[in-house]
Each structure stands twice: as C-alpha cells, then as structure tokens.
Symmetry: D2
Subunit: 352 residues, 4 copies
Amino acid sequence: MSETPHVRVAIVGVSGYTGAELLRLLHDHPYAEVTKLCAHSTAGRSVAEVLPSFRGLIDGTIDAFDASAVAEVADVAFTALPHGASAGAVRALRDKGVIVFDLSADFRLKDLDTYTEWYGDHQAPGLFGAGVYGLVELSRDKLRAADLVAVPGCYPTATVAALAPLLNEGLVDPNSLIVDAKSGVSGAGRKASLHTHLPEAAGGIRAYKAGGMHRHTPEIVQALSSFAREPLRLTFTPHLVPMTRGILVTAYADLASSEVDAQRCHAAAEAFYEGSPSIHVLPAGTHPDTLWVKGSNRLHLAYAVDARARRVVAQASIDNLLKGAAGQAVQAFNVRFGYPEGTSLMSPGAWP
Amino acid sequence: MSETPHVRVAIVGVSGYTGAELLRLLHDHPYAEVTKLCAHSTAGRSVAEVLPSFRGLIDGTIDAFDASAVAEVADVAFTALPHGASAGAVRALRDKGVIVFDLSADFRLKDLDTYTEWYGDHQAPGLFGAGVYGLVELSRDKLRAADLVAVPGCYPTATVAALAPLLNEGLVDPNSLIVDAKSGVSGAGRKASLHTHLPEAAGGIRAYKAGGMHRHTPEIVQALSSFAREPLRLTFTPHLVPMTRGILVTAYADLASSEVDAQRCHAAAEAFYEGSPSIHVLPAGTHPDTLWVKGSNRLHLAYAVDARARRVVAQASIDNLLKGAAGQAVQAFNVRFGYPEGTSLMSPGAWP
Amino acid sequence: MSETPHVRVAIVGVSGYTGAELLRLLHDHPYAEVTKLCAHSTAGRSVAEVLPSFRGLIDGTIDAFDASAVAEVADVAFTALPHGASAGAVRALRDKGVIVFDLSADFRLKDLDTYTEWYGDHQAPGLFGAGVYGLVELSRDKLRAADLVAVPGCYPTATVAALAPLLNEGLVDPNSLIVDAKSGVSGAGRKASLHTHLPEAAGGIRAYKAGGMHRHTPEIVQALSSFAREPLRLTFTPHLVPMTRGILVTAYADLASSEVDAQRCHAAAEAFYEGSPSIHVLPAGTHPDTLWVKGSNRLHLAYAVDARARRVVAQASIDNLLKGAAGQAVQAFNVRFGYPEGTSLMSPGAWP
Amino acid sequence: MSETPHVRVAIVGVSGYTGAELLRLLHDHPYAEVTKLCAHSTAGRSVAEVLPSFRGLIDGTIDAFDASAVAEVADVAFTALPHGASAGAVRALRDKGVIVFDLSADFRLKDLDTYTEWYGDHQAPGLFGAGVYGLVELSRDKLRAADLVAVPGCYPTATVAALAPLLNEGLVDPNSLIVDAKSGVSGAGRKASLHTHLPEAAGGIRAYKAGGMHRHTPEIVQALSSFAREPLRLTFTPHLVPMTRGILVTAYADLASSEVDAQRCHAAAEAFYEGSPSIHVLPAGTHPDTLWVKGSNRLHLAYAVDARARRVVAQASIDNLLKGAAGQAVQAFNVRFGYPEGTSLMSPGAWP
C-alpha cells in the first residue's frame, strides 16, 4: 500500500454542500492528500466554523481562490463552483497544469450553441469540448487519460443510468421517454431563498421548470443519444421534495415489443453494470428509496413493467451530493489515477 | 338562513384521518348537525382522547357502529371505512333509509369484474352500481338525486381533474397518458407500519406499486374514458413523499397537434371548471405546490408544454384528506342537498 | 345577528406568516370586514401571488402603507411589522384615530429603559406605555377599553399561561424558574437565511440565545412578576425545532411545599382559566403535543410532578402563529368590541 | 499495521437501527472481522433485504441467535437487544467466554433494587454488577480489562458529558439540576407505532414521561453522583422531536458562586476532555446543533451563563445511534483491545 503514490488535491468551492462532501471523501481517501481549500465568500474563515461537522478533524482555514497558489501545492483540483463562474477558474488551473474535476455544467455539453442557449456565453471557449464526461460507468476508458473531467449533473446521472441499458439493447422506443425526477432541497445549494425556507419547503412538493425548461435536459439527451439509433423525444420534469438529500428518477418508456418484460429490463441493466461497484439493480418488485442510498455513492435501479399499457417504469435513486456530485467526482478521480474505483466510496450511508 | 332545513349526519369511521376531517368540516357546517360518531377500534373512548385537536370542542364519545342506531338519529351517514368492509355497512345503512356518502372504493367502479379483480369479492353485490361517482365537478346533476355517493379516491380526483379538460377537447392523445403521482403519508391512513415509521419515511422518497399495480388505476381509467373517443393507454405510478398531507399529480400526454400550446390547455381547463369554487387554474409558469392547498378543499391546476417534445405537462395539487376525501364528500353533500357548493369548504388552509 | 355592528379592519404587514393568518381569521370573521391590506416589499402585487393559499378567495392587491389611507377605510388596524419599525406606524395610525392591535414588541414592556436595553431606541416614545398587554386571559377588563393593544410574544404567551396559575397560588418558588422552549421555524418569519434553509434546519435541533439573551425574557418576567410576591429568578432558553409551526414550553419550578402535587397544579390552572375558551388543561399523564393545536387558537396545558426532585414540570403548547400571534390578536379584538371571545377562533386545526 | 491482531465480532440484534450502525462501523473497522449477524424476527433473511443500505456490500444472511454458534466464530459480541431480553443472551455468551458489549440497560445500574424498580426482575442476577459502565471518557482504565461492557444510554451519555466537568470542579449546585432533553425518533427503535407514525410524529414536538418517569433518570443520577459531594436533585424530561437522529441536551444548574462564568465552565470541560477525540467544546456563543454530529461519533458541548439568573446552560449534542449507542460501543471496544480510540469513528457525518 505504501508504494501507491499519493496525489495532492485542492477543493475549490469547499464551503457548499458538494464541497463539504468532497472534503469528507478526500480526507478519508488513502491515496489523496488534501492540501488546499478555497472558497469565495468564506475565505479567511476556519473550516470548523464554516463546516461544523469537521470541527476537531480539520484545523485549517479556507483561502480565496488563486490558481497559482493551488498549482503550487496540488496536482489535482476539484472545482465546485456555479455554472458560468467555473469555466474561468478551470482554465486558470489547466493553464498551470492542474488536472481538474469540474462539478459545474461548463464542460459537460459537446455543442457550444447548445451551451450558449441554456447557460449563456461560455467563459473559456477555447477549452470548451476538452472535458471528458465523467459518468464513470459509461466512460472509464476515456477517463484514464483525462486532464479535465466534466462531472455530470445529478439528474442526468440518475436518468442516464436508468435508461441507457434499455436504449442500448433496443428495448424501448426512443420517441417515448418521460423522466419525472424528484430531488431533495440540498440540490439547490447552500443559498437561502424563500423556495428553500423551511416553512415554505417542508410541507409541500412541487415541480419546477416544467415543460422541458430545466438545463439538465440537453445534458440528458446528449448522454442518452449515443445509445439510441434515432433521435430521442424526451420530456424531463424535476420536482422539489421536502427532504435534504436524494434524487429519485421515475422514467417511463414504451416497450419496443410485447416480448419485453421486467426481467428482460433487469437483465439488461445487470449486464450493462456488471463489475460496477456503485450500481445495484434491485430485485423485481423492489422500489428504490432514496433513504437507502443517502450518504453513499450508490445508485439503486429497478424496473417494473405496466403490461396493460406496455410501458416500462424505470426507477433510479442516488444521493444527489454523492453519486450525483462529489462521490462521482471521486469515483472518476479513482479511475483516472488507477486506484480501485470504489476507493473511499464503498461505505454505506448512516441509515436511517 | 333560519329557513334552511338542517340535516342530521353521522360519521362512521371517525377515528381515522379522513373521519377527523369530516368531523371538522361538518361540525362547522351551518346546515349539518353531527348527531353520531362511530368507529370500531376506538368505540367507547371520548373524542378528545382519540382526536386531541377536538378537545374542548366536542365532548361526546365514540360509539360502535350499529346501522339502526345511526338511522334513529341521522338522515345521512358518511362512511370512512376500509375497502371491502365498507360495503356491508353501507348496505345496512341504505336498508334503513340512510343516505350514504361512502369514502371507500366499494361503489366507485361500474364493472363488477373489474372490482373483483382489484379488490376481491364485493360484500354487497346487490348494491354494486348504485353509487353515483362523486367527483363533484363532473357529476353535479347526478348528485342532486343521489342516495349513495361513491366519493372518489384521492389520486383519481387530482388526475381526472388535470386530464379531463384536455381529453374533452381532444387536445391530447389518449394513447399516451403517463400519471406520476406523489402523496403525503397520511394517505396510508392511521395505521402504523415500518413504511410510515418516521425514521424510514421522513428521509426518502420512493414509488410503490409501480407497473400499473395500484388500485386507483381502473378508477382513473373509468373516469377519464368518458372524455376520450378511443381507449386510453395510461400508466399510473404513485410515490410516497416525506410529508403528512398533499397529493401532486404530474401527468404527461402527447399533444394531439402542433397547434396546441399551454395557453390552449389553460383555456380548456378554465372553461371546463367555470363556476367551480374549488378548482383554480394557475397562471402560466406557476407550479402548483401542495403546501398552497393544504388544509383546504381547493385543487390547483397548471399546464406547461414541452415544445421540443410536443407534450403537455399537467400538474394538479390537492390536500388528499380534503378535496381528495372528506372535503369532496362534504362538497357532494352540499350539492345533494342544494346548499351552496362551497358551504364550510371555502376557507384557505392555515399557511404555511 | 344582523344587529351586530361590523368593524372595518386593515392588516399592515400582510405578506408575512402572521399577516396571512390575520387575513384568514378576519376574512372568516362575521363581524369584521377587511378593507385594506398593506405591506412594504410586496406592495403592488396581488394577494393571490404573494399568498397563494388565498387564490380564488381574495382578489385584491396589496398596498404600500399609508396611515391616512388606512384611516379612511378602517376603524381598526392590525400591525404585523418588525420590532422597531412598528412603533412609527402605530403612532401614525393612532394619530388618525385608528384603534391598533400591534403584534410587535414595541408596546409590550412597561419600562422604557428595559425596552431600550433589549431593542434599542423607541421610535414613538410618547406612546410608550400606552399599550394594554393583550394576553387575553390575564387582561380582559383592560382590553375592553383599549385603543392600543400590545399583542404578546409567542414564547411569553405559552410561558406565562403555564406558570401564572402556579405563581398565583404560591405553589412554586419564584426563585427557581427554568423555561425551556421549543419553536417551529415559522417563528423566524418569512425571511430566508441559512438558519432556516431546509438542508440546515430540517435535520437538527439547536438552542439559540442561550444564557438569557432572548428578547422575550424581560417580557416574560414582567408578565409573571405580577403573580409573585418576590422577584423572579427565571432562565429562558429557546430552541429551533425542525417543523414549521408550534411552540412547546417545558417549564420547571421547585415546589413551594411537599404538599403540592400534580393534581393541585392541575386544579389551580383549571380554576385560573375557567371560562376561557382557548385554554385546555389536559388530563394527568397527558403530554401536550404542538400537533394537536396546530392551525388553531388553542393552548394546551399539563402538569407533571417529579416527586423525587420535588419539582413541577409545566408544559404548554400553542401554534406560534395563532395563539402566539394572529389568533391572540383576534381574540383581543373580540374582547375589545364585545364579540364572543372565540369568534372565528374555535375551529380546531386540520389534523394531522 | 499487519501485526495488529484482528478480533472476530458478532452482532446480536443486527436488524434494528443500532445494529445497522454497529455493522457499518465494524465492517469498516480495520481490526475487526464481522463473522456473525443475529436477530430474532428477521432470522433467515438476507442482510440486503433487511438493511437495504448494505446491498452489494454484505452478502450474508441473518441467523437466529445461538450463543454456542456465536462463540464458535466470534471472540466478541455486541448485543443490541431490548432491555430485559438482553440479560439472558449476555449470560449465555459470557458462559461461553465471549466478551460482550451490551447496549441494553441490563448491566448499567449498580443497585439491583433500583434496576428492579425501573425495569422489573433481572434475568441474569448472577451477572448483575459485573458490567463496566462504558461511557468511555469516564472509564478508560476500567474498560481495558472489561469482559462485559454496559454501553450507556443515549440520554445519559449526552447529559453526563455536559454536567460531569461542572460537578467535578464544584462549579454548580448539585441540588439544582434540570435536564431537558430532545431526541429524534430513531431513539424509539425500529418498531412502528402511532407515536412514530409520520403523520403524527412529523408535525409536532412533545415531552414524554415528564415528572421524572423515564428509565434513564437513575442511570444519569448514578453516573453523575460520583462527581458530586452531596446527593443530586435532578429532574430529567425527554422530548420527541420530528427528526430521525440526534439528541440535544439542555441542562440547567445554579452556579456555585458568582465568580463562575461561561469561560470557567468551558475551561473545565476542555480540561476534563483533553485528549478525547470524540468530544469537542465549542467556542463561546456557539450552540451545538444535532445536525453537526449526525452520522458521527462526536459529541459537541457548549456552555452559556445567564448572569441575571446566575445559572449555567450546558448544551450537548450527539447522534443517538452513534455516540449514544453503536459508536460508543465501538469506542469502548477500541479501548478494550488497545486500538486507537477513534478507530473507525473519526469520519464526520455526511452533512447536511
């Protein structure tokens, strides 16, 4: 074990929820050494004050971001910054030779016009397209040589994981995809608003950006399109659920033929994810519960078939901050550096 | 006002959540006099002990159910009993001439074979088919002469309200219906189980009976079929959400033509529910939140169109215990007896 | 009934949680007519947009506050404004002859130095001391002639209600008072912050302003002192609980003698609150649950005695927005104008 | 590291919440090997089915308890069984030479009459008194030779940790102790009841066993008495809070002299817990939040002084399932076997 080279890592944007999870996973990681913590609004404050769960464990202070200072002490940076703002930081880090795992949307899309349409002008167009999309189970080979990893969005991770095996085997009609997603409130980040104010968020559920207006739509379509032989017709609707963590995706598709049943879908997923330590296909009749994956990097899948209506109901659950963000980033890091894919990621969450 | 005849009412099954809401609404009702409260497991106990929110307001005791005793003091009974058990009680009450508003599923379906397939043997087959389906906005005329009202299920109420206007005007393809529903835990009734145990229910979301296995499916199909010119193909998936009250239905359908937009759907619903005091169609871009209807008999609707995928996303929110159960029953009662439809039902809930 | 004169009322600060509850109660009130709604940040917007639970019920728009405009259409104003800001508005209204029920802290204290110490400079010192403290059960006589009512704080209401009967009969030692209070998050108002951001508020409980630093401390001491023959020694600690509504006060006091038992405390409270429609003393062994009073103006009390330690444990639960704010204001309004004290206030909340 | 001897451990009662946490901690423990999992009602079922968070991680099946079978494969057993039932299992295991960490109350008290008064007849009276009370920070020396460890209750852990340093230095009056404790619902175990049914538990807070009736009272008194020079007068009131995990203790005591301030209390605790990796004394003005310790074995302490009332307000927060149960058991195990005290216990929880 002592022969494995350690990698020095920085976390940029550590004071948000994703940053905190990156810190937790990387602090425990046997081959990573956390050497730098950066954030904007909390710069100068101690980790214990900003992230009280680390009190007594991490004594340091959070620094303002400076690419040169990061490059001096770190080989790798995990950037957990807002969309738009991230691109500039990533470019600065790449210019200094730092390998970057970027958790924003800035390097996920392949088409610049699509990016501009959904996110506005890109802040580092010269680097656009340079990122390897880091949905690990779909891109292990590419990740091994990646110097810029675009860590997928939380909704795309769960959605693509659920539907890719079905499209890949031609079990469903690409023209018929409906994705109804439910997310805990931590997905909105560590930014207070009335939408997330406990009295207005704890007692109800609601959709948002209904009508295909959510920015993860093009990312989902892009990732799934490579598995379909024809253009997708996909509607994606996210919902805000009164809980802190978790995403449940319930995806619907018409069966490609009357021979397809739940067992066939299950088998397709089992085969697709064979050897993937983070994905589990649950037994028939089981419904993934986000509680079961909370605090872990796991993704639970299950398939039910509505025989009357000849549709499949694909269900996927993740912790949005882990397999949907920080966990997936560390998983990609493990693949990139040749560590066992589940390093620092195999613990179940604290249940319940 | 003093000329309006009062009606004497009994509540059978008062100790559950729906029973408690019936009691609240009918106690405040200016033309109803609550004369009898019955329940099985809590018979002999005081209302204040079983339903602590009524302490100081209602001094009586809960009786065991006896149809003759009910008929002696009541003209009308609201039965909030489990499916299967309700039919026998309803028959006994009807035999004594009591007008019944039944909140179980026992008299909702029109086809006995379908009932048997989903619920098992019917306990009062002679009365099967005698109920008027009480989704008030769809059946006001029939309700005026009804002596047995089958109060709709919570999921069907929200689903049918959302989709009926679209099917009625031929705006959507009946072959393409997906209903993704989310319910608070009170929908499971006042019966403890691990599924509803706070530690296992408060921190996650999950589907149940995925694959078209939920008993409300045939009820939804039956109610919507009358608005469609061809057989429906509909998939219904309920989910359990970590909150006490509320149902949000997110329903998806392919647009019948490229001319249909959100405004057209909105207008269809506005027209369909004109003069209905309990249903509000929200402005474009608004997403119904179950919090906004909690504690009230209101139903909020909104329509978004996914122009890329040519689908409508219909959203409906209700309080499952009110417009989804007790409120709708009282609304039907008002129509039956010629009172203003919103009597005792117009207050907004206590928000937030 | 038609002989009872109606009173025209305005609500100033309607867009917060207390304002919304005032609107709900007064809209339903048979002798009040709501003629004006004011707020600062939401001026110009429709009620339905700002308070979605009123959609379809109240069509108006919210106005900016102007005392003259209020005085033109209203006899009475309920002011639900922040401490400090309220005094000026109240003075302007009083100058125009409007009777005011003020829900801020600006007129609750009797000693100006104490006010200044805890709240800073008073904005209407000429009016300081003119308010009648509106804890209804303690001040009915004074309220009948009041033109400025200082509606009590939420914590003082529950605390004083629990302890006053015991101090009044000399059952406990005034030197030994500990008040441990637990509040839902709506007590923090409709103002987003990280403290109330669902991810950081829903999964934990914590004290705040421990060490006697909360501003309700002098109000509690002032109100209870009139029942004690010696100065109080009282420690008050509030906690933030992961729920929207409700306050539970658990108060501790040494028994004045070994003869005092739970039954004696219970009897003292029963006698003290005889004829009070909003207060219920629960049977021995029952523990008040804030759920049971949620959405209602009720206050539940219970007393347990720790015989080993010779202490009483007094428990009181209220809905902080109702008996702790809007409900109590309307209750005081009823007393002021000679309406039955429980008018518009007797409904139980929607439970659960 | 490879020289450290591994210990083979069994978990008896693995299907409850404490059992699940024991499994999580011991599965990750570098010096423990989990060789046997037992439970009563779930015997014969797979771990993945009973504890879905372990799916894909632990493939085994749960066995019925048999002391001989445990002794064959395990050197150590952690017993997480109900009070009363545990004693018999512990005796059987000790008879076979198995070292036992018992998480029930059966071996915590030192006085058999007290045990009988609060819990009924003891099922292994010959072994009563043989347990070492395992509040690790108070009993490291004794634990090193212990073959039967009585892991403390959750409330006593937080309470004793908060008050012991103050009593130990004579800073507070032992005659004046009030302990107001708040617990998440997982403290009630994995057993469904109406008290823990989400609709009745999620929307309110309430005390239970008020008046000194909770069984943890004698345990707290026993543990604290060794630090006081006179008998304690202590009142303990637990509350059920609408959240899954966490205990917050707010304890009150009269200051022994007017010289004692918050800094003095803070310093006493700092000194008392020096070198204790699980306990952190927070800076002045900070309020421990159970969210900050959720999922970890940490205990946060803080002291505020109410100068007006001359009292200290001591606050302690823990995760009831970790430092309050499974974590403390593993901590005691580490001390017993000479491993670093924080082995497998230092990770912060997944926050938020």
